[in-house]
Symmetry: C2
Subunit: 195 residues, 2 copies
DNA sequence: TGTACATCAGTGAACGCGCGTTCACTGATGTAC
DNA sequence: TGTACATCAGTGAACGCGCGTTCACTGATGTAC
């Protein structure tokens, strides 16, 4: 068989990476197959050697974030389950709600960039989204000691606060309110991680 | 001039109402002019007697929610500014994070239904979004007594928590986690309103 | 009051562009001998 | 080792559908006389 066995795999990864960035910036629908392939240094027709349809790309793109930063979250959460480390959660919050993350249209978390796109996508895409959320919640929960029910409620609320705050900041028109929302969420979430 | 002067206005409102519901359910892009007009009991061609383009509908649809429930929030927030009423905020939170609101695909708040759509829309649409958010924040802030900076941070965080929690619940695939997230946000937000 | 007229909201056929998808072809690369 | 061959990843032109938008027309209704 011509082309080494990993050659196709590599190309596929280039396509997914290209798609992830473009989707983050423009949403699923405004990105054309042509844009994805061109951005990956390929041409339109080859796309269907790798994917059955455009929709099949959505899940792959969300998963690709999951394999990167999402995997890191899970790793951090599992560091030492018997010894909760609130600092881990605090660092993660600081990064997630940082001005850098807010400005990083290409690399941002898809839960911020694509909420309604994913809500309307097929269940496989939503399953990737759920895994990503769970990774975040695990990290938060692992940083909180004790009384299970309360800790779980708190961890889920912290996730909603971080993601919600960033979505608001991203959606508002440019004005002082953008940073005000981001900062309020950052402070409140940090307080919740400490207590 | 034929047709009473309010006749056109009424028709326009029918179109906007039809659009608001369809947008909430399907997002901006998946809704066609034909769907909007048919749902309003009209035919395709007439649309351009009322709007310059499809995009011009987006802002009108978001504003129409603002005129309804958003106006109610603002009215509630202004009831008696010298006498903060945490109960008002608590009721609003209970309604916003209720299972009914979560299931109300047609009537739900556009901040939940359309976050990424609005983030990619033109600044007028985003301005309507900002007004809506401010109405909610005012209501929360008016229910909290005192120390301005902290109250403001708390009100903004409560809004991020409510909206974020509902977006997560809406985006997750069907599973127990949906209600778990909603309930966690509901409890935490209620606690924040009380203290 | 009744009739002719003017206006313009609403109709529905048609246009044309964009984009997802298909397809016949090319050419790079691994394998057989 | 070198050459012919087979495979299949990648190319780019073409197809066709859907949808935003346009346009010539219709007909309901207010106004003028």
């Amino acid at each position: 068989m011509p082309y080494s066995s990993e050659h196709k795999q590599k190309t596929r990864e280039k396509i997914v990476e290209s798609a992830r960035i473009l989707f983050n910036r423009h949403g699923f629908q405004d990105v054309t197959i042509d844009m994805v392939m061109q951005n990956a240094g390929l041409t339109r027709g080859g796309f269907y050697n790798h994917f059955k349809s455009k929709e099949a790309l959505y899940g792959a793109a969300v998963s690709s974030f999951l394999m990167g930063r999402g995997a890191q979250w899970r790793a951090d959460a599992g560091v030492d389950p018997t010894n909760p480390d609130p600092d881990m959660a605090r660092q993660m919050i600081a990064g997630y709600l940082s001005p850098e993350h807010l400005g990083d249209l290409d690399g941002q978390c898809p839960m911020i960039a694509l909420p309604s796109d994913i809500a309307r996508a097929n269940p496989e895409v939503q399953a990737s989204y759920q895994e990503l959320l769970e990774a975040m919640v695990w990290l938060f929960e692992s940083g909180l000691e004790g009384q299970d029910d309360k800790a779980r409620q708190k961890a889920l609320s912290m996730a909603a606060l971080c993601i919600g705050g960033m979505i608001l900041a991203r959606t508002l028109p440019a004005s002082a309110l953008v940073q005000e929302v981001r900062l309020a969420a950052l402070r409140t979430a940090t307080e919740m991680a400490a207590r």
